[in-house]
Amino acid sequence: MIIIGEKLNGAIPAVAKAIAARDSEFIRQRALAQAKAAQDEDYFEEPVPLYIDVCASTDPAVELETLKWMIDEVEAAIPEEMEHVAISVDSPSAAVCAKAFKLCKKPGIVNSVSMEKDADGIVKTDIVFPAIADTEWGCVALLCESGIPQSVEDRMKVFDKIMERAKHYGIAPNRLYIDPLVEAAATNQAAFTLFSECCKQIKSQYPDIHITSGLSNISFGFPGFRKPLNMAFMALAMNAGMDSAIVDPTNKDMVGLMYAVELLKEQDEDCMNYISAHRQGLL
């Protein structure tokens, strides 16, 4: 599983406070704590990357400079030997994403685009895709256009449009992290069914494409008892084809679950990753 670590988001009050105070130590510690969940070459034969999401959630006027500060702090926090850790540049503004990713030292992923229009009226894919076309950057793409489509068919229509744009700009499917969107089960009981149907259709069309999600949306509305729902979603969504997730990498229960599901899905030859994760202290 490709983990996108969610703990450096300005929407989290403690992070907002650290950003406002330019508390380097706080940002660096959080970055490193998440990076430690990345697969280490000493244990894993073929480590998969882990991305540390960096989202400012500030006033648009200061967002880019805030992101720059956060990116610099995260890069300073990650030791060079952690080769498989990179940054996920996160902004609701495609224009900011297209500028901010250039501030990073090594390729990561842009989070995110969709078929929605950006502030200047240009569709988000058409801002980010050309900017990353000649790089090794990946990109998260949400299946929404104007609001969240309420049927599998409508979400897949958005998917087709995104793939058409990706093809146009020469972005290979394996650079894309499709987020089919997760709604709260509390308000839409079909939330998972919709998600998993999209996963299956997407994977059958593009076996190399990645599918990700900010899955904790599923348990919104159940304060204090969200964890079982998040974990059940993770297991079922992985079974439907999800191979990436925006989660807390320091949550050992969730990380352990991901390794366990991969093993059961026969994606872990001789159980070696499960054993390696145990040896690295990830379980």
């Binding site: 001789d270 159980c271 070696m272 054993i275």
Partner: protein, 211 residues
């Protein structure tokens, strides 16, 4: 690092792709085929067994190492005097009547093979008569290993061992027993020669029994 040491390390690390090449390199360098087998592969499997017993490695890693060794033996076989890879002799192994568990029995068979025995695996749910017939058909057999994984099949193990104990060939063979509910006390009570608690110890014990 010597070529034999390279074979040893590749087997121990379970590198199924590396082992055959390492064996070939050792042969090309003029190493004695029997030394490659004994000091390279079998010694590596001894170490794997010891690490498993100590809880340092896990079942899949033992399987992977044994598989890697097998690949190496394929390369080595044409260069060995016949029987060198199975020089310790024959072992008959099976899970007793009424019991369908084969994981533990298979692990034992694999570790016995890796230790240098020729293993005749009778499978699961093996009636006592079949154990007897198998020994009669292989008069050179040295050890019979019987496995029972359920408390409800412990009586079946007892009957099997009793049948072996009553057979005319009994003095020529050793009887080993094992399985989750089995204990040394039970093994003593039913008249088996040896009990071990895991596959690695079973291979070690078998070597001692034929020494």
């Amino acid at each position: 690092m010597s070529k034999i040491q390279e074979v040893y390390e590749a087997v121990e690390a379970g590198k199924a792709k590396r082992v055959p090449a390492a064996v070939q390199e050792a042969l090309d360098a003029g190493c004695d085929p029997t030394a490659i087998l004994n000091e390279g592969m079998i010694a590596a499997m001894d170490s794997v067994g010891a690490k498993f017993k100590a809880g340092e490695i896990f079942v899949p890693e033992m399987l992977v190492a044994a598989r890697a060794m097998k690949k190496g033996v394929e390369v080595l076989k044409p260069h060995l005097s016949s029987g060198a890879a199975t020089g310790l002799g024959k072992i008959i192994i099976g899970t007793v009547a009424g019991d369908l568990h084969d994981i533990g029995k298979n692990l034992v068979a694999m570790m016995m093979e890796s230790a240098g025995f020729e293993v005749i695996d009778l499978g699961v749910d093996v009636p006592k008569e079949k154990f007897i017939e198998a020994v009669e058909a292989n008069p050179d057999v040295k050890i019979v290993g019987c496995s029972a994984l359920l408390t409800t099949t412990m009586p079946s193990l007892k009957e099997t061992v009793a049948a072996l104990n009553a057979a005319p060939f009994r003095s020529k063979i050793k009887v080993m027993v094992g399985g989750a509910p089995i204990t040394q006390a039970f093994a003593d009570e039913i008249g088996a020669d040896a009990y071990t608690e895991d596959a690695a110890s079973a291979a070690q014990k078998a070597k001692e029994l034929v020494a």
